[in-house]
Amino acid sequence: MIDRTAAIRRPSLLRRVTAENSAVRRLDALMLVAVAGLSVIGTLLVWSSTRTWAPGSTGLVKKHILNETLGIVVCAVVATVDHRAMRAYAPLVFLMSLIGLGLVITPLGATINGSHSWILLGGGFAVQPSEFAKVGLLLIIAMLLAQPAEGSDRPRALDIWLALIAAFVTMGLVMLQPDLGTALVLAVITASGLVVAGVRKRWIAALAVVAGAGVFAVFYFQLLEPYQVARFTAFVDPSVDPRGVGYNSTQSMIAIGSGQLLGKGLLGGGQTTGRFVPEQHTDFIFTVAGEEFGFLGSVTVVLLLGVVLIRGLQIARHCDDRFGTLVAGTIVCWFAFQAFVNVGMTIGIMPITGLPLPFVSYGGTATFANLIAIGLLQAIRVRRQSFN
């Protein structure tokens, strides 16, 4: 009697976790190790770059660690959700992100560091809805494009239009802040969704032409803020104004270059200590890695980012359903774009754009959004049907 009841009893938690086909064992451990590595490096760099703000200043590092801890919890929660169920929530998430963006424009919004993209929560905390908007947009686009047309493996035209409208509205709200960097990430998310979903090449080509015309129009009708134009000019020739716009570019190159092969050691960077590079703990955090950890350290950061991206692409390839593949593919493109632009601008191969380096830069909302995305990737991997 007793034995029979024991037989139908659920296995212990430990058994379930360690069982051959348990969800935990299906997690992508390598990707998580890479994310953890980037977070640890990021924490050290935030410490190094903010400790000189005031004697014994550790406030920002503590906040950063708190953000990361909360992010890990959020990530774990997201990873337990079946991504197919998430498809049903996608419109809701998208709508909430739009509301968030809308609130920023209302008097509830706040301006921090010259960018009107915050909602203050009190207690020194603030959220940046545009970071969540990235997740919201990629979910709604994946949802729309996951349903192929009858008898075809391409999305329906109506869904494509809806996806474009969703993208346009989101980007429009972000540009009202204005936040060109995030708007570009949203564009990349949309474009990558269309590409991965198998939209016809001529559609994609047509959209590319329209986007190109749009960029031209933006420059031609001077719709950009002067500082944004100046950043591009300075990118083309940093010597134009080495004390002004070209300053960031020049100083970040000096900081990274002076790290040489082995770097000056943690807290040993004179350029970092002297705060010659602005926004060192956020957008230009890679310069701290370059100066203090040298080529070996900065290439390690790039490699860890590469591990996250390549593993993400593998998750997308091995997923059995269109929605999961789309979500994973767009997430990878988002991170890839942001990483490339961020690192690229510090070493003079991309224009200066206000984008943080995923998992490394200081920033609560961005950390949450990034870790939610990692949670999504893990959720997709855990629930795939076939192995190998």
Binding site: G198, G257, L261, F276, R317
Partner: protein, 681 residues
Amino acid sequence: MMRMRARLLVLHVLVVTMLVVLAVRLWQVQVVRGHEFVTRATETRTRTVIVPAVRGQILDSHGRPLVRNKTALVVSVDRTRLTRMPDGGMKVLRKLSAVLGRPVAELQQRITPCGPGVSKPCWTGSPYQAVPLDEKVDTREALQILERQEEFPGVTAEVHSVRQYPGGRAGAQMLGYLQPVTEAELEKREGLKASFSGVDLVGRDGLEYVYDEALRGKSGLRRVQVDRMGKALGVEEQTAPVPGDHLVTSIDSRVQAVVEKALARAMKSAPAADGGAAVVLDARTARVVALASAPGYDPAIWAGGISARGYQWLMSDKSGKPLVSRAINGQFAPGSTFKISSVASMLRAGYPLNGKYDCPGSVMVGGRAFSGFRGIPLGTLSLHMALVKSCDTIFYKAAYEQYLKDGGRNPKKVPKEVFANTARSFGFGAPTGVDLPGESSGRIPDRAWKKNLWNATHDVSCERSRKGYPEVKDRARADFLKRLALENCTEGFLLRPGDSANFSIGQGDVLVTPMQLARAYAALVSDGKVRSPRIGWALVRPDGTVVKTIPVPVVGKLPLNEKERHYIKDALSDVPSDGTAAGAFAGFPMNKVRIGGKTGTAEVWGKQDTSWFASFAPTKNPQYVVVVMVSQGGQGAQTAAPAAREIYEGIYGIKRPPAVPGGKLTTRLPQFAPDGTVEGQ
């Protein structure tokens, strides 16, 4: 799904490409071009600051400072940086005005370069130089500025070392002054490693100039790490400055004070006096004990940069050109003080030392009557009495006889010129070589000199002899000048009989400096050796180590044996008691300290006489030689001799505390404690 996987493969390739691009670019920036960025990082991150070395002090023979340093905090503003600001630097000036407690308008005016319509206090310096706004800020104010560099861009507060003169105006010309070194000078001095900062000073005159290299030390370098705002974070590298050596001089600052006072009083006593000098030498060593020149000035005027107006005043006739040291640059006819040389000339020409010489009221020289002082005949005199009574005619006669011996107007090929050559062996006609810059050489007019002068001037004098002097109002004077021009034109190359007579009593074209006369008397009353006087005695490191003792070089020898020297010295020893200076020394306790000396009254055309007194004391084994000269001071006994008397009274403490207790000069360098303080001070 196949299509999606194919598209994902494209993304895969893109991502890998991106990673490779980043890695390659990082290699390029950090490894290939790393060195270049390290250099640029050092440039942006560090500032090189010149740390000026503390300049050595100038001390007197007892270690009392003649020139010392005081530190002053100076707040300066970089004008060019301020004008580049959008509001013309008004914000910075307003903040500065709050810290310094001065009105903004005043600060603004002080940094505005002077020009038409801009009145004082405007900036007289270079528009590119930092303008010192306040030279007396306290530490608290300076720290307020230094700690908040980002709020005070272009404003600096630096510790500057400023020269201080405890003796005030005393010996100002001798001590000299400092001025900022120019870029060209610095490059010449330091070569390629020169880094011009504007804080380096260089001695421009006096002892500061001569001993500049030893006094200035070596400035240090500090590489300071700064942040983006220019705020100093720490010192990366530093070479400590090497402080300059102290210059110990043989000046006794108490004697110097006595001398300055006596000279000032002498200048005041003679209404027409326009300049004066006093030299006190250690008779035994020819080291300078005191050196004064009037008019004087306060050398503090140079501290922190002199204003253009101040400089012009120093150079103007109105101030009497106080920068010029009359002691080494004042060239005047020496009058009867020169007779020591003339007596020696007679002896060398063969006149007996113990002979008897007639001193008539006047003698005929070249067909012209040359009279002695007021034409009074003094009867038959020994050379001793000739000096005591200052007879002129004996010397006229002897000089004229020697002139004729040399061939007179038709000179021999190699004339002996005993008088001129003897004067040269007394050191006249050449710089003494004292350790001061720009010394004058005086003049000994001989036949060659006349010829050179004629070569240079006969064009003018011949033209004047034809055209006359129509611009001179006084008819008689114009006629005289015309006749003189004719004489100069036709026979100006000849030494005339009158020239030789004038020479013998230190008149006419003979010029000497007070320093030359002093060292000649020092040679006469000591061992007969002509020396190059020295003010510097030793160079001493701040810790008291003696780097170098400065020797007094012997540069010549008097053409007199010991007996002859003593004879002349004995004669001079009677002058203040019985001779021409008796009046000036009336009541002086000769039984306590016996003074020897010679008065001199040199005529200067169109001006008052130059008053001289050359003296020594005590007459037995002299310790001091004192020479006083007052230009336009009248007779020697009237102005210069009383000043010399006052100097001796001060030295020996007659009716007052003595400047040199016991009257004996120190022969031992002051002793320094290891911390640089002077023992017994």
